[in-house]
């Protein structure tokens, strides 16, 4: 199974990925991570490795455009050499999920499932939507699940506005609400992924 964890810059993708990876490891799932950074030096791969996960870092470009060939090759290599139950892909914060989903499909790794979640920062969602409306919209539209993160930082009224915003942009997606930092709601997502990886 390939699980894409996308979301805007600073939405909490790496924090969530580390916690999901740990939980799936406890459930005896083999987990591999492909992490992508725009610059020549990445931080996320180092963080993921430091927390004990196995990652491949692709830098100096975006896997949804300039590094699409590298992503295909990396997925093929991981599938062949490691045979994981779940491959997490953490793209850059400016990647478009639909484009990555196409690349995963074309990589011919025969992943039975291709699951896309988009992380939304509850505290900054309205600001990002205002500053980068088209881009934010395209990211939300590309998710099977929208994960509203950092709920510990907003009141109920703001959270409701964010719920309504993402639901209006992608009515078909499942919406989950979590605090990755405080580990609230993370078990539910891990259970969903473990179940999907088993089916």
């Amino acid at each position: 199974m390939v699980c894409l964890i996308s979301g805007f810059l600073g939405s909490g993708k790496t924090t969530l990925l580390v916690k999901l990876g740990k939980r799936l490891g406890e459930k005896k799932k083999r987990v591999a991570v492909v992490v992508n950074e725009l610059g020549e030096v990445g931080v996320d791969g180092a963080v993921i490795d430091a927390y004990g996960l196995r990652s491949v870092e692709l830098t100096e470009g975006c896997i949804c455009c300039s590094l699409s060939g590298s992503l295909m090759y990396t997925l093929q290599t991981i599938a062949k050499e490691y045979n994981p139950d779940v491959i997490f892909i953490e793209p850059t914060g400016v990647a478009l999920p639909n484009k990555i989903n196409d690349i995963v499909r074309r990589s011919m790794i025969h992943a039975e499932k291709n699951y896309g979640m988009v992380i939304v920062d509850a505290f900054r969602a309205k600001k990002i939507y205002k500053e980068c409306e088209l881009f934010f919209r395209r990211q939300i539209e590309g998710g099977d699940m929208i994960v509203i993160n950092k709920i510990e930082m907003v009141d109920e009224a703001t959270l409701q506005e964010v719920r309504e915003l993402v639901a209006s942009l992608n009515p078909k997606a499942t919406i989950m609400e979590i605090s990755a930092k405080e580990e609230r709601g993370v078990d539910g997502i891990a259970d969903t992924i473990a179940r999907e990886a088993t089916l």
Binding site: G42, T92, G93, F123, C132, M153
Partner: protein
């Protein structure tokens, strides 16, 4: 809309660099504090150029006995710190720092970070461990 380059589509600028550092048995708390000030100063420089930070500035430091990660998405919110350093004193290690922000081009992000690294040199000995010298076209770059 050009989908071929999502970074351009988002109008994002990025820069990342790895630095090696040595310190004279600096207290761990002091080290984390200095790293936090370093990141905060980068975030504030971006905010002063753009009028706000849309994106993030983050760092990961590997030291003698553990690591610390720091992240900032809004200077008013402060830093998110994951401190896994076990030793009380720091003598050296490596720091990866990167910023990805909307509305500031690559060159200006690089300039901001490099200027702030100069400030960091006042409290620790620093060597740039990893940064390829790109063929920048700084004049009139947009």
């Amino acid at each position: 809309m050009n989908d071929d380059d999502s970074k351009s589509l988002a109008e994002a600028g990025t820069f990342g660099v790895e630095i090696a550092f040595r310190a004279e048995k600096m207290r761990k708390d002091k080290f984390v504090e200095e790293l936090g000030l370093f990141l905060m100063s980068i975030a504030k420089d971006v905010e002063s150029q753009k009028g706000g930070l849309v994106g993030h500035v983050k760092a990961f430091a590997r030291v003698d006995d553990g690591f610390v990660r720091l992240n900032i998405v809004d200077s008013e919110l402060g830093l998110d710190i994951g401190d896994e350093i076990r030793s009380k004193r720091i003598t050296g290690g490596t720091i990866k720092v990167m910023a990805a922000v909307v509305g500031v081009d690559d060159h200006h992000v690089e300039e901001i970070i490099e200027n702030r690294i100069e400030d960091l040199r006042k409290v620790m000995h620093i060597e740039i461990a990893e940064h390829e010298d790109h063929d920048h076209c700084h004049e009139g770059m947009e």
